[in-house]
Amino acid sequence: MHNIAFVLLRRIRSPLIVLICVYAIAILGFVLIPGMDDEGQPWKMDFFHAFYFVSFMGSTIGFGEIPYPFTDGQRMWATVTIYGSVVSWLYAIGSLLAVVQDPAFRTLNRQNSFRRSISRINSPFYLICGYGETSSLLISALTEAGIRSVVIDADQYKLNTLELEDYPIPVPGLCADVSLPEILILGGLKQKNCIGCVALTDRDPINLKVALTSKLLNPSIKVIARTETQDAELNIASFGTDEIINPFTTFAGRLALAIHSPSMFVLFEWMTGVPHEPLCQPIYPPRGTWILCGYGRFGKAVHERLASEGVSATIIEEKPELTEAPKGTVVGRGTEASTLLEADICNAVGIVAGTDDDSNNLSIIMTARELNPHLFMVARKNHRANASIFQAAQTNLTMQRGSVIAHKIFALITTPLLAEFLRLAITHNNAWAESIIERVSAIADDEAPQIWTVNINNEDAPALVDALSRNQRPRLKQLYAHPKNRDETLPIFTLLLKRNNDEMLLPDGDTPLKAGDQILLCGQHDIRNQMEWVLKNHNVYHYIHTGEVLAQGWLWRKFMTSKSDQKS
């Protein structure tokens, strides 16, 4: 704040001095030049009247000659000083405006207001470096979940789009170079309520620098970084970055998952859904040979994953030498019929339009459909803005990289235990995933289910901990009981129970709970609040455990216990 005042003062120094000098000369002139009073007697203006006259002369010219009409000498001096004072005023105001308009001054001003708005945030927030499709999806998911975020990006144009987005909670944004540590500090990196830093710029060296700076300056926060090469991934992992996401392999992995084990894919999509997102429908991709259009970074990763799963694919690539495509690659874009026919489209079961150009991908889909209407069509969507035409193209599956990455980061941020669940889930087969999908669809309506973690400790579940200390042996299914009627069950089930280092996938309802357990629950949206009653309210817990409503007041409780004593 004080920086601005100093810069402003320094810049307006010379106009102020000019103004003071012009005023002093004008006043002195009026005092020295002889005048005449109304009776024709010689009279000299004093400093008081001279100051008064000069003050209004500069700004309003036209109050008249006071206190007596001027002599010609005075009029001449007034003429000269009018020009002097008006010009010096213009100069002063002009330089003041120039300072305010100055790019350096405005940057300073923006940084100051950014700093102020961050220091005013008093709930936990995430610092997000780089604003693009992924970040904007992530931010809207975070705001939906009530978590604040702060954005820094080097491109003012992208920040303008941030301002145009209508987030329910304000998201402060600054245009600055995130590779500078002081910019990250400005973004609240060292602030107590900063809980994480997400490096999502599209350049690996910058993400590396951001991750490194965050880990050094604030080791307690969670750092998530995006990398494009394996080299950078190893480098970033070396200093303890919590999560590293390679958008190409993550996205390719998810796409390959969709092709070889569709139920697992649907499970992943549902589990990492953002609040109020509609559930995607189960897909049934056929078995057989696929056609893969585009062999760039993304195509390579898809091909690798498909090959490891034993799915054969024919590659179509425009520049096979440049991308080091394997033998048997069909040369071409895939947008024209001849190339697709050369790739034997009539005998293929599906096609993946995976180039980095949305128009080409759509063109591939349209051409392929004409040649073989029974194809299973997967399209890669690069820009969210093209969503409507992809929808109109009626592909079997449309995937967007930014959305996959944003969902993954959102899940990692909000429920760390979910990452462990997904890691365990991937080791199971497609049929296992299908059984879980059935359980989820039984409880969820059309929206993505909510996934949350409950820790059996004094903070999260005081009533349960209290019961444990009295050897009451609470069981997992008691969490699902309705707080008003314990015979009713809430639409909830447990995905994972973590006890010390043991992980129980889909534990049974009769599993006894222990202090220190971490439970990953999956349920309908907003059902979480109902479930918290049994964790936090002793009376509700007592009712669910025993079936009797406990008296709440001290007097009534005494009365009831003495009555039950008499009975026994």
Binding site: L9, I20, L28
Partner: protein, 127 residues
């Protein structure tokens, strides 16, 4: 030699000398104290203040503070003068003159501090 330093020191010293010139004389004798000298002291003091703007050092802040004190005292003296001459209609009495001169005496102290700080800075920073 640095022209900026010359101008800076010139105005600070001139503010002190003009102030001293006005202060000199019997405290309650109006014709010992020239109104022109007070006017010049105010103008030079204002210029000296503006010259000190924007210095972010601790000493710079101190110099600016002393200047602001001097301005305040001198402008108060001028206001008292204008009040006595034009508003109350009592004219210049020895009592009013004493008030004006003592106010300018306060400004003089502030100006002396300014010069002492300036000299101290010059001695510590080798040129």
């Amino acid at each position: 030699m640095n022209l900026e330093k010359v101008v800076f020191a010139f105005f600070i010293l001139l503010a002190l000398t003009l102030n001293f010139g006005f202060f000199l004389g019997d405290i309650d004798v109006p014709h010992h104290h020239s109104v022109y000298e007070l006017f010049a002291a105010i103008v030079v003091s204002l210029i000296a203040t503006v010259l000190k703007f924007g210095d972010r050092t601790h000493l710079g802040a101190l110099l600016l503070a002393t200047s602001l004190v001097a301005d305040l005292q001198l402008i108060m003296a001028a206001v008292v003068w204008a009040f006595a001459e034009h508003i109350t209609g009592s004219g210049m009495t020895p009592a009013v003159m004493a008030i004006i001169v003592s106010l300018s005496g306060g400004a003089l102290l502030a100006n002396i501090t300014s010069v002492v700080l300036l000299v101290a800075e010059t001695l510590t920073v080798r040129s």
